[in-house]
Amino acid sequence: MSITREFKVGFLVVFTAILLIATLFYLAYEKGVFSTIHTYTLSSHSGDGFTEGMPVVFSGFNIGKVHALELNDQGLTLIKIKIPNKHVKWIRSDSSFVLYRPLIGAARIVVSSANLHSPLLPPGEIREVNTINDINDAIAKVQPLIEKITNIAENIERLTNQLSDPAGSLNRILANARKVTDTLARKKSLLEMAVDDEESVKAVHAALKKLKDITASVDGVLKKVDKMADKTDSSLYGKDGTLPQVNKILKDIIGKLEKLDTTVSNINKMSGDLSEGTKNFRILRSDIDDTVNAIDDVAKKLDDLLSTKKEPEIKLP
């Protein structure tokens, strides 16, 4: 028995067609075209973040997708999800549904089932969807940090304002320090600085000068007396002798000593004032030292902060 060519061709065509259809059916079956689809309804207070076609995920696997979004009479968003029959087993009555919006990546509905032995979720029951929003969480975490940074920036701004403000504290301190150093540089002596009265200092100088003059005079008198010892009685006691001159000189000495007494009293009085002033001066000096040190510290810190300088090279001019 021979098989005709026509039969062979017909057989090949029919076989190929059957194979093709079987393959298509198989693929459709595998893709769940013929499986029963269960629809569940979820609710949310806001439809924000939900989209149609959004995947429904259980343990990281897609088990369904959002089919439709609706708004009910109470203003709640109803999210209808379709779950194929083979995945329905993951949807239990104690399952929780969470809208997960990651910082990076697409949003999805995550299903978690604590007990897989609990009864299946009835299709008519509406479950609420909670939301996890990484973006908002991140913002919430960053918010206090931003506030702190803002505070720091405000402090820096205030500091720089104070530094640049001519009437600011630092400038006032610098102005005071300058005033004090100017005074130190201008005053001719420590005495003048302590007493802070140029006239008084002049008086002290004048008194000291006078004292020096008087000392010189007394010294001269003593020399004269020494010379007198060598002279004879007549020349000593005569009318124009030395003794009357000595008397005269002695009177002069007494007069000068009286002046000296007054001068010494003045000096004593001023020394008393000066010793009181010296105490104040020491306190003032310590205050100046503190201020200068404080300014120096600030300057060094600023210098350290801002400096990009290299090591200074000390060269001959």
Binding site: I149, I152, E157, L306, T308, E311, L316
Partner: protein, 220 residues
Amino acid sequence: MNKFLALLMAILFSACSSSQPIPQWKDKSYRQLETYKNDFLADKEDATEPHFRKAREAFAAGNDLDLLAKAYLTRMALQAAVLTDIDDSDFIRLDKLQPSALNRSYYDFIQGNFSALQKTEPPPPYNRLKSAIAGKDVAAAAREIAGMENNLSRLIACGVWVKYLPYNDSILQIAIATASEQGWSRALFAYLYKLQAYYQDRKELQKAQDIKERLEMLKK
């Protein structure tokens, strides 16, 4: 926005800051010496020379005799620049302790030991004056001094030349212009007095009188 910019600046500045801080004595000595130079020339440094003393103390803290010698040489150079007497006692002691050819040649130049400098090179930037010094050529000296870039070096060169070599009014005018430009009053008055004396010696009485009146007005 401004706050964030300020913060960013602060962070950038702190990022730029050197990880290896400069030793405090070096920083302090450098700053004090610079202040001393300016204050000395501006006649703000009184007889106790506080900034020089602080610079000297900072150098001493660093145990660096060479830098200490340079500080003393700087003071001597400034004294030469304002035509006053030069106190070299401290440098002589240091130079015996730790001799340095460069410091010695600088010392010779400041002290006017030009014969010693004929064997060695004068220190820069004064080496360009070598031939002018050898020939006592005032015109060449004025030219070379005027060409010096550093104001203080120019003034020091003027001071050394005026102290030890025959000079003319052009060198004095260079010194006066330099001192005026920088506000160095001590140097300015020293050279104005010198110029007045120069004109008087040359019987140019009108010019001398003009300088005198100028001095009176400036010092008023």
